[in-house]
Symmetry: C2
Subunit: 448 residues, 2 copies
């Protein structure tokens, strides 16, 4: 907890702002979806903001920043709280600033949308769609998630098979960021430098506005194919990812997963499933490649009609696969893997054989550096943290890259970089932004 | 020449068809752009059709096929004659069938256009553009080239950085093809099988109609950047090809090339050039990456406004680079190379150093199997066929793939496959289609 917290002073210095401090509100604003990990759930459960600020506009947000900076109060930013690693959990108390009222869509032109950080991705997508565009990338939580939260704590998801992750140059073009100082003057960060704000959990600046590059809207269709053999399904995914077919999503689920996540009505028992969002232009090629591997079309629907509802297949993919499985079976957790191109399918097959029912294969095809690649969000039957660490270590030893989702530490998750740290020194000179998320931010001794 | 050629009989059997047989017409219809290669120019120059058929519709085309099949007359198909390997040169005389009057656009829906084989790519592109689409792939000769000629003898070009080559599954979805028989019944070929008609020079069936998959039309801009150092230009191209930026073209020209091809007004003497068609959304990233390599924007124009005119930068790329250089200096010819991903830039640098002014680097970035890749269309100062063969052999020994543009033989160019040969047996049982283009078609002894 923050040593010298004094809400009265904060209120006085930022009197226009809505401040919340009852226990239920503070608890709600101090949690995210890190309960996907039993390790994080245990570690982060008791973290609690001392107050929640809900600025209505950017000038109020600047007032909150100024007040906290003057008092030396930690400030943790929150979008919709859909992160999975405690991104917005205030490990050292202080203020959580809920950015969701900063939700204006500021402009749409030439395939770029400029928004305030609290704008919801679903609302942005609806707005740009009228201009013939769509968001390039969205998490499976797009109905709740915000533009700022996605960039500060997300990765990609729907659309990553076309455009890679948020980190790839070109997906996010600019950000307006406020420093954590007593007189915060917002700064426009453009070009390559904007990437230093990516996936920094709000530790190195307060995102106020973002420019997202858009994709042309295509006539998408959602399709689900079933396969008797998992490796046939995986090979189909691999072949389709390497064909000249416009895709928005390509997910492979091993046979035990569909009944765990509510797809038993669409996928016959014992069958593996490939879920995709594919342009109508590509449907025939998808059918032809599926047939080569013995796959059958089991379900189809228009994507635009299903989009934004729980009917959409995209809500059975990425970390919604994990979410749905967890709702049915709380003993499940997950991995985040990258199988290196060139030996992806071999490693998938080897890891699948090695762990059997303990680690269930869930593959997501995406691009990395514009190269088709295969990621895993395997469902793990959790036994103990020691066993989980062992599984992670074994994957790494076998050549599978693991971005550990069972740590709240940014640098342990494998995503921090020198540019991030340089911005941290520049925009958070007193180390007040989201403290405890970096091993190097001076808060190590205060781990919860 | 064809032993038993009898035009009177052909005319009688296909009386509706326009037949041409004067020397100038036969000569014109027997040539293509294979004069880019001094080897092919010498070898193919005297090949001559005995007659030219110009069917006005598909039923007339079938009548020509039937008449030739009955008489045992070789039949060679011709679109606009823009091929570079003698694709439509009638090595053994007989009839050349000019397909250019079969130019109907039959339908546009769901990102697919269906056309007759003789439709010009520029006309197709204009038609689909009204529906918000554009052709995925076009050669630099798109103003003349036809849909059928492109598929039967082309590769890709403009757009290959997004969608690869015509060979990739998904770019061409179907073809209606007539067999070379006395009673030709057209057959619809769909799915993976259509690829067996790709780049077969019309040796294994007569293409009547094609379905091309389309791309969403984007707000493209043409840009030309200059660099002092070639490898900085190449690295810039490589970085941009791997970024999340929508591109339609990405070409790198070594410093001696711009003044050879009419770009001296745009590129200062001694500078290397990077030409691109990039979405407006991606311009800022292109600028940022160029700046990292010391590049400067030298020229910019709207792509849609320049498209279809000689002003467009696309007419300085792909084999139009070669064409323009040849117009100024007839001692030039070219290579077609693929630099293997992973060591592309190293091999480019090594080959460039090795040959100096004898082989000038012209790179085209594209995709192969959906992976960004780097191809070369190097300009070669021609000394002798022996030296050219030596250069090709040295490239291959160094690990550079060469698709030899100095042979009229399909299987020597490296593009034939078992599926092509199976269709050949099925659709051309008497070996009359474009004879002499396959080492295995029984015409070896008759090489010109």
């Amino acid at each position: 907890m923050c040593a010298a917290f004094d809400l009265a002073t904060l209120r006085r210095q930022a009197p226009e702002v809505e401040w919340l401090d009852d226990e239920a509100q503070r608890k709600r604003a101090s949690r995210d979806f890190s309960w996907f990990s039993p390790v994080l759930k245990r570690a982060l459960d008791c973290a609690r903001a001392e107050a929640v600020a809900r600025p209505a506009d950017q000038s109020q947000a600047l007032a909150v920043i100024a007040a906290c900076a003057r008092q030396g109060v930690p400030l943790t930013l929150r979008g919709a709280g859909t992160g999975n690693y405690g991104q917005c959990v205030p490990l050292h108390g202080g203020v959580v600033m809920d950015m969701s009222r900063l939700d204006r869509i500021l402009g749409i032109a030439d395939g770029v949308v400029r928004v305030e950080a609290g704008a919801r991705l679903a609302d942005i997508d609806t707005a740009v769609r009228e201009h013939g565009w769509e968001l390039r990338l969205m998490p499976s939580t797009y109905r709740m998630a915000t533009a700022g939260g996605f960039y500060a704590g997300g990765f990609g998801g729907i659309g990553s098979i076309r455009y890679g992750s948020l980190e790839e140059p070109g997906n996010v073009l600019a950000a307006k960021v406020a420093p954590m100082t007593a007189r915060p003057e917002p700064i426009e960060v453009r070009g390559m430098a904007v990437r230093d704000l990516y996936h920094a959990y709000g530790t190195n600046g307060v995102l106020l506005e973002l420019e997202y590059a858009l994709a042309p809207c295509l006539p998408w269709v959602e399709r689900l194919y079933t396969f008797a053999a998992f490796m046939d399904a995986a090979r189909f995914g691999h072949a389709l990812a390497h064909a000249a077919v416009d895709l928005r999503l390509l997910t492979v689920l091993d046979a035990p997963i569909p009944p765990l996540i509510g797809l038993e009505g669409k996928v016959p028992d014992g069958q593996c499933a490939v879920l995709m969002v594919v342009s109508r232009t590509g449907v025939e090629v998808a059918d032809a490649l599926a047939a080569q591997g013995g796959g059958h079309l089991a379900f189809e629907q228009d994507h635009a009609a299903a989009f934004g509802t729980a009917r959409s297949l995209i809500e059975y993919t990425w970390n919604h696969t994990t979410l749905r499985a967890l709702r049915r079976d709380q003993a499940i957790t997950y991995l985040q893997s990258d199988f290196p191109p060139g030996q992806a399918l071999e490693l998938v097959e080897a890891m699948r054989s090695r762990y059997g029912a303990e680690v269930l294969m869930h593959l997501e095809f995406l691009r990395r550096g514009n190269v088709p690649s295969c990621a895993g969000l395997q469902l793990v039957r959790y036994r103990s943290e020691a066993r989980l660490r062992e599984i992670i270590a074994e994957h790494r030893a076998a050549g599978v890259y693991i971005a550990d989702p069972h740590t709240w530490l940014l640098d342990e998750g494998g995503r921090s970089n020198p540019g991030q740290m340089a911005l941290k020194r520049r925009f958070d000179p007193h180390g007040l932004l989201n403290p405890g998320k970096l091993t190097t931010d001076g808060y190590e001794g205060l781990k919860p």
